[in-house]
């Protein structure tokens, strides 16, 4: 026996072995730490114990009944048996009872081969059943939306998925219905499940009741080679397993990484791999001949680009500009920065393609100012213009956990966020009137009394009409309450691009400047990689005039994006899951990428393309020359836009599920994104004669788009919310870079057959 166990420790005997654990540890955890297996179904180590499945029953000396190991706190001198005849009998009983209504369709079931029920039935089950009655009968499978299939016959009602929605995600996506033996999980009237985290319920389901509709029947666990990699969508940088069979990524799973994503992923990550194997990937270089993009050899294309670069150099330095970086790896970004800075010799590089010139985004470096773990230890969270579940979903799970531990959430936004019921305070106003709300926050008792206040300033705030003021207010707020200001801005590997030098150098222009310069004829050649400025630039006209003002456009792309369609040379690029390397997440952590599959055709890594070009320019490059450049100094924010405020303004917001170039090619995500739509407040809808789900034309002084209208009080009176990221719906064209909010008129469009614009 441990004679000198600390006072906070208890020693108990499990199956004859003395185990010392901290006080408060459950018998199950104690057993597991000692390598003693106790079967479980309902218990999940990220949630408090429930004690429902009764599979973990153990015998404890001096206790009359068997006890559930998952709920029983270990105490000093406890003597536990996990293998006594009574325990064995109980385990057999529980498995027999669980299996009476569980169909034996393992050969068909997707979970077969990786199923805890299967494994435990083999290990602890009675081997035979006395059940001769009719089994529970349900229609199968029940589709609960584009990605989730529910087989109620297989469900053993462990409540893990229901509790995940209650405890971890806070979205109550799945609920229990009916009672007793008729209990089932699901959604009201089997409507599509509303969640951004439903993939996790598939992962934690201990049977094949919840399965992925995109992975359904596509492989068995023994077919799969899992590749440990990193998700590169939103910038949180969740660790994933990419499950590969026959050169195709069939599914993504969360890989445990307590410091980043813990054990979770969002659905964009779960179902966002389909674009890699899309049929319309670019496989050969394309060169514009006779006005059309035509297939070419690598040599031809690279020679042409090198020749143009040399020609520009002859006309003078700095007549080449580079845009992009979000979809590049750290290594690609570093190679691009080195190439343009040292070989081409231009300071005009920027990855912040979607930043407007007058917002607050260009003045600060993007990302968190603390680690995700530190953030999770906060006691007050202020989200200013940051729609966290749409922009950084897994970061929300960390904040939700903090809220459950007693932290407070304050929301400042122009939209009713879906997490609002977890907020202690919600301050709403129209997009152009947010600054006073932030200024008033210092007087908020919750914020003022916080010991570790984290303010997340999001894109909607920074790039909005009053961005610089909001940044200033938020900055002075955190100074007053001794908090931390995080710039929740950037996606993908924007943080790696920022870190490895894809920012303007000495005398260089930022992205809006590059575009304006290009329009004015300052550049001979514009080079784009890892970005699609044609859709990303928030001023539609800025890109168009830049394109027409520049002589030659080179684009690295995996797909024939809008930018690529306008290019003179398109070089087929590998996408991130096809590359070895690293990315940087929003807290600045370096995360490994592993090539899961080979790229299509002749596609090459961006870094390799820059090396080949450098060689043609007479420079052989290694990769140890990544120069770190400092982010540009904080610029003094401009005065707030004056002038009359329009009665109805348009706000372009981010959404998790979109139909962009990647997600728009993933089965399941396409359906989750649905059709492009705008959100209009009932009062404005009534005034404009707009009906829910009807088509409307949104007209600004610059452009008009036709989208579906959703009448909803998620938005506020006087503003129409529309989402970017739907290819073919050029919402970026609606507005111009301007510090003033963009007025909009919304009018219903007659159904097909009537007059259409």
């Amino acid at each position: 026996m441990a004679a000198e166990a600390p006072r906070t420790a208890v020693t108990l005997m499990i199956d004859g072995r003395g185990i010392t654990v901290p006080k408060g540890t459950t018998v199950y955890q104690a057993a597991r730490s000692a390598g003693v297996d106790i079967p479980i179904f309902c218990y999940h180590d990220r949630m408090p114990p429930l004690g429902a499945c009764r599979m973990c029953l153990v015998e404890v000396q001096k206790m009359s009944k068997l006890q559930t190991a998952c709920t029983l706190e270990a105490s000093e001198g406890m003597v536990v048996s996990t293998t006594s005849p009574a325990v064995r009998a109980a385990q057999e009983s529980m498995l027999e009872l669980l299996l009476i209504n569980h169909p034996l369709d393992c050969p068909i079931c997707d979970k077969g081969g990786e199923c805890p029920l299967q494994d435990q039935a083999f290990r602890y089950g009675p081997g035979r059943s006395r059940f001769i009655e009719a089994k529970r009968d349900h229609a199968k499978p029940l589709s609960l939306g584009p990605v989730l299939a529910l087989d109620r016959e297989r469900c053993i009602l462990c409540w893990r998925c229901v509790r995940f929605g209650e405890i971890i995600a806070g979205d109550d996506a799945l609920k229990g219905f009916e009672r007793g033996f008729a209990s089932e999980v699901g959604t009201p009237r089997a409507l599509p499940v509303e969640s951004k985290f439903i993939g996790n319920t598939i992962a934690i389901c201990p049977v094949g009741a919840l399965t992925s509709r995109t992975y359904r029947f596509r492989a068995r666990p023994w077919d799969i080679d899992p590749v440990a990699s990193t998700c590169t969508y939103c910038g949180v940088g969740c660790s994933v397993w990419l499950d590969v069979r026959g050169g195709e990524i069939l599914r993504t799973r969360a890989r445990e990484e307590p410091e980043v994503n813990d054990a979770w992923l969002c659905d964009l990550g779960f179902f966002g791999h389909g674009y890699v194997a899309a049929g319309d990937r670019l496989t050969t270089p394309l060169v514009r001949r006779e006005g059309r993009l035509q297939e070419a050899s690598w040599d031809e294309a690279l020679d042409l680009v090198a020749e143009r670069l040399r020609a520009s150099a002859e006309r003078g330095p700095g007549r080449v500009a580079f845009l992009g970086g979000r979809r590049l790896s750290n290594e690609d970004a570093s190679a691009a920065a080195g190439f343009f800075r040292d070989v081409v010799g231009t300071p005009h590089l920027d990855h912040r393609v979607d930043a407007p010139p007058d917002g607050a985004s260009l003045g600060v470096s993007w990302g968190l100012r603390s680690s995700l773990e530190d953030l999770g230890r906060g006691d007050v969270f202020v989200l200013v213009g940051c729609d966290i579940t749409e922009e950084y979903p897994v970061l929300w799970l960390r904040i939700k956990a903090a809220i459950d531990r007693g932290a407070s959430l304050v929301i400042v936004h122009a939209k009713r966020l879906e997490i609002r019921r977890h907020a202690r305070r919600e301050l709403l106003d129209r997009h152009d009137r947010l600054a006073p709300l932030v200024a008033a926050l210092a007087a908020d008792e919750t914020v003022a009394s916080g010991e570790r206040v984290h303010v997340l300033l999001g894109r909607l705030a920074m790039d909005g009409p009053d961005g610089p003021n909001l940044l200033r207010s938020a900055d002075s707020l955190v100074r007053r309450v001794n908090g931390t200001l995080h710039i929740a801005r950037g996606r993908g590997n924007d943080f790696g691009a920022q870190r490895f030098g894809l920012l303007p150098g000495e005398g260089g222009m930022a992205a809006p400047g590059i575009l304006q310069g290009a329009a004015a004829g300052a550049f001979d050649l514009l080079y784009v990689a890892g970005s699609d400025p044609a859709t990303a630039v928030t001023d539609g006209a800025a890109w168009e005039s830049a394109r027409s003002g520049v002589g030659f456009l080179v684009v690295h792309e995996a797909f024939l994006s809008e930018t690529a369609q306008a290019a003179d040379v398109v070089l087929p690029a590998l996408v991130l899951p096809e590359k070895d390397g690293t990315v940087t997440n929003l807290e600045g952590r370096t995360l490994a990428l592993r090539a899961a599959v080979k790229g299509p055709g002749q596609a090459r890594a961006d870094r390799e393309i820059f090396d080949l070009l450098a060689a043609r320019m007479g420079v052989v490059r290694g990769h140890d020359t990544a120069t770190r450049i400092e982010p540009v100094a904080r610029i003094e924010p401009a005065a707030a836009g004056a002038g009359a405020s329009p009665s109805l303004i348009v706000v372009v917001a981010d959404r998790l599920f979109t139909q962009g170039s990647m997600a728009g090619r993933c089965r399941g995500l396409i359906e989750l994104a649905g059709t492009a739509h705008c959100l209009i407040h009932p009062a404005d809808a009534a005034r404009a004669g707009v009906t829910d789900l009807g088509l409307v034309e949104m007209v600004t002084e610059h452009a008009s788009v036709v989208v579906q209208a959703r009448v909803s009080d998620v938005t506020l009176p006087g503003q129409v919310l529309v989402h970017r990221g739907y290819d073919g719906v050029p919402v970026h064209a609606l507005a111009r870079w301007s510090p003033a909010p963009a007025g909009v008129e919304v009018r219903p469009v007659a159904p097909p057959g009537g007059e259409t614009p």
């Binding site: 114990p49 057999e92 009983s93 009655e133 229990g176």
Partner: protein, 421 residues
């Protein structure tokens, strides 16, 4: 309902059986609210707890936990405390709470005030079974009258105490009568029992210290304060028995604790119906193991009944006569549990459904001789493995019926086998 004055003195039922007790003037004229006033203005909480302890009052909901002890578990210093009244009377054969609420809602309100003031709770929720529609109207009216009289709300009886009472109708689940499931339901979730510890006294409603108390238990409080614990104890202490089934006069009877089953059936409830013989009786609702003719002289108190292998529970005596088939009686009981199992834990959810399926087969002439062993086997698997007492109360009665009335099962199965051929 029987009105015969079987008892020489009834201290609880006299409130119910007197006309007009739903009106506050009538109730006060008969001495109502005097006890609550004393508690609010004269007695200290410790004195009240002392009186309740001396009375020996135990919870009347089924578990029979000593009331005073429960009160002592409530942390005195906690800033927010609740009293939750369990009025979700759902145990088959139990109707004493309904009788009390409909007969004299003020008695319950007064009991609530005594409990709330004593433990220092400012907010009281009455979780009322939704089917008690009339009771709810009467209770609402009684609370309104008490409020108008200054007994409910701020500064009750002119004291510094404040008690707010909210009536909350349930959604129709038997399991919501289990105190932690009731709290879940009250908080707006699916009624499923919670893991204990922590007990509600420490972390109950909204994780605050909560006293969950049965309607009848609270109704005893004014009587105890009014009569004094000694006098109360001399009366038995009194218990309300709900007697139903094959007796001449089913109804609620007040009798001293320890009255014999025989006396309850034959003296109070008028005996068996003409021409019928006593066969069995559940002493404490369907959850208790039934007693047979040999047990007729057992005393109806917790200890004697425990010795007889059963329990007093909610003191709901369901009498079965010789015209009843015990297989059908048990099948009906099991169906009830199957329908009312909350679905949380495996053995109760699956076990009750399986047993019900086997019973259905036996009743439809498709029984097999091995089914009796099967039933015992399923019951064995459920014993000691269920999350809450609902599932745990199925096996004892089933196993007892298989032991004591095995011939009836065997006859059924044999008859079925013959019919089948």
């Amino acid at each position: 309902m029987a009105t015969e004055a079987a008892m020489p003195e009834s201290v609880l039922l006299r409130w119910v059986r007197t006309e007009g007790m739903a009106e506050i003037e009538q109730y006060r004229r008969a001495g109502g609210y005097d006890a609550a006033r004393r508690v609010a203005t004269e007695l200290t909480p410790d004195q009240v707890i002392e009186m309740v302890a001396a009375s020996g009052l135990r919870g009347k909901g089924g578990a029979g936990f000593p009331t005073a002890q429960k009160w002592k578990f409530i942390p005195k210093a906690a800033p927010v405390k609740y009293v939750v009244v369990n009025g979700d009377e759902g145990e088959p054969g139990t109707f004493k709470d309904r009788t009390l609420i409909e007969g004299c809602p003020h008695l319950l309100v007064e009991g609530i005030l005594i409990a709330a003031v004593t433990i220092g709770a400012r907010k009281v929720y009455i979780y009322l079974r939704r089917e008690f529609y009339r009771g709810r109207l009467l209770l609402d009216a009684a609370i309104a009258q008490a409020r108008a009289a200054g007994f409910v709300g701020e500064r009750i009886f002119g004291s510094d105490h404040a008690v707010e009472i909210v009536v909350h109708p349930g959604a129709g689940a038997y399991i919501a009568g289990e105190e932690t499931a009731l709290l879940e339901s009250l908080e707006g979730r699916r009624a499923m029992p919670r893991q204990r510890p922590p007990f509600p006294a420490v972390a109950g409603l909204y994780q605050q210290p909560t006293l969950v108390q049965n309607v009848e238990t609270l109704c005893h409080l004014p009587v105890i304060i009014g009569l004094g614990p000694e006098r109360y104890k001399e009366l038995g202490p009194p218990v309300l028995f709900s007697v139903s089934g094959a007796v001449v006069r089913p109804g609620v009877y007040e009798a001293p604790l320890g009255v014999t089953l025989r006396s309850l059936i034959f003296d109070h409830a008028g005996g068996m119906r003409p021409g019928r013989r006593f066969k069995a009786a559940f002493p404490g609702g369907v959850s208790s193991v039934f007693l047979t003719e040999a047990d007729l002289d057992v005393k109806m108190d917790p200890d004697s009944l425990r010795q007889a292998g059963t329990m007093l529970g909610s003191a709901a005596v369901i009498v079965v006569d010789d015209s009843a088939d015990m297989v059908e009686v048990m099948a009906r009981a099991v169906e009830f549990y199957r329908d009312e199992s909350c679905g949380k834990c495996t053995p109760c959810r699956e076990g009750t459904a399986w047993i019900a399926q086997v019973f259905e087969r036996i009743l439809h002439g498709r029984g097999r001789s091995e089914d009796l062993a099967l039933l015992e086997g399923i019951a064995g698997g459920m014993t000691g493995t269920c999350f809450c007492p609902l599932g745990e109360s199925v096996p004892p009665g089933l196993v007892a019926s298989l032991r004591l009335f095995r011939d009836e099962y065997e006859r059924r199965i044999a008859a079925g086998a013959t019919d089948g051929r």
